[in-house]
Each structure stands twice: as C-alpha cells, then as structure tokens.
C-alpha cells in the first residue's frame, strides 16, 4: 500500500525536478544570448564612432592614411548585409588591432592633442573599448555558467534532451596578444 502511494509522489518529484532544471537551462541560454547581444550593441557603438574619428584626424594624419583607410574599409565590410557572423568577428578583431595602432600613432601628432573635437572622440573611443571588454567578460561568465549546466549531472541529462550545444568562449585573438609594433609605426610616420 505504502509503495503504491509513494509512486505518484516520486513521479511528481521527478516532474518538478525536470521542470526546475529545464527552466534553469533556459535562463542560462537567455543570459548567453543577452550577453551576446550586449557585445553587438557595443560593437555597433564602435562602428558608429569610426567615421567621426577618421574625419577628425585625416587632415593631420597624412602619414597614417593607409591605417585610416583600413579602419574605414573594415567598418564597411562589417556592416555589409552580406557579412556573416564569422566575418563580423574577424572584422572586430582586425579593428581592435587597427585601433590599437591608431592610439599609438596619435602620439606623433601633438596638434591632435590640442583639438577638443579629437579629445572628445578619443574619450568616446576609450569608453566604448572598455564597455566592449566588459561585455565580453559578461559573455564569458554567462557561457561558463551555461557550460556548467550542460556538463553537470543531472542537468546534463535535461540539456541532452533539449539538444543544447556548447558555445564558444570569447578568447583574446592572437593579434591582440602581440605588442603593437611601435617601431614600424614610427618608421612609417617619417
């Protein structure tokens, strides 16, 4: 008699457990998506800033014309409707490297430092870069939490049933690990 009564209770516990784990995983997926979209928002802010930045400096930075053209081209390609997510990621990494070169190159143009317009844009750029870095850290934290859900028992069973797949963590690109080649920049500026 006792065993017959306990069966529905066990079933109820199992169903409740499944619902809790399922909803927990859905929340983790949503958080990863939210983090991913916050990166996109920051990238958009950065793309919006580049034309203004280029316009503000091009009359001073004659020797950096190719760098400015690269930045403009990267932006155009990233915002092109044909660009895939992977293309955009590549443009993003290349843009980060180009902007770091740009920041170093600016040091050769003291007249830029006297321009309020440029200082304002540089402040915006610094802010966006730091926000972008924060958004990537949020994304990595969200993905790590999501992976914990995928790989720990018993939520791994529910995740398997839901067909959830691991997401890629944002890693610092090799190009960004390399120090900026200041010497080459200075040679070019001569």
């Amino acid at each position: 008699m006792g065993a017959i009564l306990s069966l529905p209770i066990l079933a109820l516990v199992a169903v409740l457990g499944y619902v809790v784990l399922h909803n927990g995983l859905v929340r983790k997926v949503n958080r990863v998506d939210q983090a991913s979209s916050s990166i996109d928002v920051m990238l958009k802010k950065r793309w919006d800033l580049i034309p203004n930045l280029v316009a503000a400096v091009e009359q001073y930075m004659d020797h950096e014309r190719s760098l400015l053209e690269t930045l403009t081209e990267l932006r155009a390609r990233a915002l092109s409707p044909q660009a895939t997510a992977e293309d955009r990621n590549q443009m993003d990494v290349a843009t980060s490297a180009a902007l770091r070169q740009f920041t170093v190159a600016v040091e050769n143009y003291p007249q830029l430092k006297a321009s309020d317009n440029f200082l304002q844009l540089q402040g915006s750029l610094n802010e966006v870069e730091e926000q972008l870095s924060a958004a990537r850290r949020f994304y990595n934290a969200a993905v790590t939490e999501y992976h914990d859900g995928l790989r720990t028992w018993p939520s791994s069973i529910v995740a398997g049933q839901m067909g959830l797949q691991p997401r890629e963590l944002f890693a610092v690109a090799d190009a960004e690990r390399q120090p900026v080649d200041v010497g080459a920049l200075f040679d070019r500026a001569k």
């Binding site: 983090a35 916050s38 200082l119 402040g123 610094n126 802010e127 730091e130 926000q131 870095s133 924060a134 958004a135 850290r137 949020f138 990595n140 934290a141 939490e145």
Partner: protein, 329 residues
C-alpha cells in the same frame, strides 16, 4: 555632532594637475595658542575636582553629625550631582580646546594636503546619503557624523567624513525592567569621490560574501578574479556595467586596499561617484586629552594626523580614480 549634508563635491579640476604635496605647515604659533586652551581646561578640571572633593567631605561630615539621611541615598545623589557639576563646568573650556585644535591643526593640515580643501569639525555626510549607498542594510536608530573634509586631489573632487551608525535592541528581564543595548552598524570613514568613468546604474561591492535574500533590484555578479570573489560579493543593476566599472585592475586594487587597511572595506558605485566605507575602531582627528601633562603635539603626532588625512589621497591613488578616460566638461 551636526548632520549637515553638503550638496555637492568640489568641482573637478584640470586632469593634468597633480596632487598637492606641500610639506606640513608650521604649526608652532597655533600649537602655543592651543596649549594655552589645554592648560586652561586642565586648570578648570583640577579646580572642579578640588571643589567637589571639599563638598564631599562637608557632606560626609554633615551626614555623620546629623544622622538624618541614609548614607546610601546621599552617595547616589552626591555622585550624580558631582558628575553633573564636573561635566557642566568642564564643557566650555574642553570644547574651546577641541574646536581650536580641529580648526587650527586639522584644518591647516587638510589645506596643506589637498586643493580647494575645507575642513569642518561639525560637518559630515548625512544619514540619508549614508543610507542611499545601500552598503549597510540594518535600520539606523542613532547616527553621528563629524570631521568632514571636502577637497580635490588632481582631477578628483571628494568628501570624507567620520560616521558612527548604530541600531538598538531592548531586553526585558523577569522583573519587567528593560535594558537598551546599542550595536554598531558602521563606524569609520566614508569617502565619496567622483569616479573616473560615467555610468547610469548602481553597483555594490560588499564584504559579506553570502546573503540569504540577495539585494532588492540588484543582480549578483560573478567576476573572474578568485581573490576578489573570496573577499567581496558584487550586486549590480547591470551585469555589463558592473564589469565596466570593476575592471580586472580595479578588482586587484580593491583586494590590495582591503588587505592593506585590514578592514572590511565596501564600495558603492552610483550617480557617477564611488563611495568607499572604511571601518575603523578609532575616532580620528581628536586632540590629545587635556589632562595629559606632556607637550601638546610631537612631530610624530602631527605625522599621524597627516597620515589620517592622507587616507583619501591614498585610496584615490590606489584605486586609480585620477585616471580619466573622459575629460569631464
């Protein structure tokens, strides 16, 4: 203690300015004047004690001769009366000595250390502002604040004041007598400084690692630095903004500051400002007791006061608040 709440910080200055590093001001003239006040207070103290001693002798003699009152009652009334007379009599000279010390020693040391500096012994950071930081959740029953420094270090305007916030509990024994106990919520220094980044939301860096009910309207933020996570719990309105404010280097700096101060430092980021709560068992910026027979202040004493004043500069420097990614207009 006053509970005035200054409306705003000193204006941000030119970011290229560096902190004032002027040497300690010559305090000799002020010290002589303050020493005169100290001697006056001490003299008043001795006179009061002498007068009270004579009164006690006469009272005891009167009781012994007449035998009209109970000795126990006389002792209670006499002790209460003596303490009242002493504190009323000593208050004026002691307060004059304390105020002169604060304005002429602490005030001048503050002016020598910071730009656009002012010191107000009776000023402070108001209870509403303390509570709005959300760093301490317990309801406050008694609140004192004093020794407000308002100044600028390089580009960073700040305010720092001492705060003692308490709550009370009452217990009733079997005979129906109630006893009130006071418990400290926070005692120490509160530093409010303009932060180097612009932001909209609220981020709290708390020392208590675990909270049963979380924080209303705020999400728990898990950060990457294990040393930081061991010491602090972060709650914020926005996950990205919390990470924008708490860069890896700022997390390291907060850990280092907490270890250096050996205190459960907490921080709140709101309204473009950072608020730091630094618990401290001591009441800073107070003069030596007027009963002391030694000369008023040694060079070491002055250095100690100067170091207490420099705490704001140290924290602003250690947390790199002077770095500006934006030049504020």
């Amino acid at each position: 203690m006053a509970t005035s709440q200054p409306a705003s910080l000193p204006p941000d200055g030119d970011a290229t300015l560096t902190a004032t590093t002027s040497p300690l001001p010559s305090l000799e003239h002020s010290l002589q004047e303050i020493d005169g006040l100290r001697r006056a207070a001490r003299e008043r103290g001795w006179r009061l004690l002498a007068a009270l001693g004579i009164a006690w002798l006469m009272g005891i003699l009167a009781v012994a001769v007449s035998g009209i009152a109970s000795v126990g009652m006389m002792l209670v009334v006499g002790a209460f009366g003596s303490l009242s007379v002493y504190f009323i009599g000593i208050h004026g000279p002691a307060e004059a000595y304390k105020q002169a010390f604060k304005s002429q020693v602490i005030g001048r040391l503050v002016a020598a250390r910071y730009e656009d500096a002012s010191f107000s012994a009776g000023g402070g950071i108001g209870q509403a502002e303390f509570e709005s930081s959300r760093l301490y959740q317990q309801g406050i029953d008694r609140y004192n604040t004093e020794d407000l420094i308002e100044a600028r270090l390089g580009a960073t305007g700040f305010r720092m004041a001492e705060i003692h916030a308490e709550y009370k509990t009452t217990t009733t024994d079997s005979k129906g007598r109630t006893t009130t106990h006071w418990h400290t919520i926070f005692k120490g220094r509160f530093l409010v400084a303009r932060f180097s980044k612009r932001f909209q939301g609220t981020t709290l860096v708390l020392s208590e690692a675990w909270r049963l009910f979380g924080m209303s309207g705020l999400e728990k933020v898990s950060l990457e630095d294990p040393a930081f996570e061991k010491l602090f719990a972060v709650y914020a309105t926005d996950q990205v903004e919390a990470r924008y404010l708490l860069s890896p280097s700022l997390m390291e700096r907060l850990v280092a500051s907490r270890q250096k101060l050996d205190a459960k430092v907490q921080a709140a980021f709101m309204d473009d400002h950072v608020i730091l709560a630094i618990p401290d068992a001591y009441n800073r910026f107070e003069p030596p007791s007027f009963w002391s027979s030694s000369p008023l202040l040694s060079e070491d004493d002055v250095q100690t006061y100067a170091a207490d004043i420099a705490l704001a500069a140290e924290l602003i420097g250690e947390l790199n608040l002077e770095r500006r990614i934006w030049e504020r207009g």
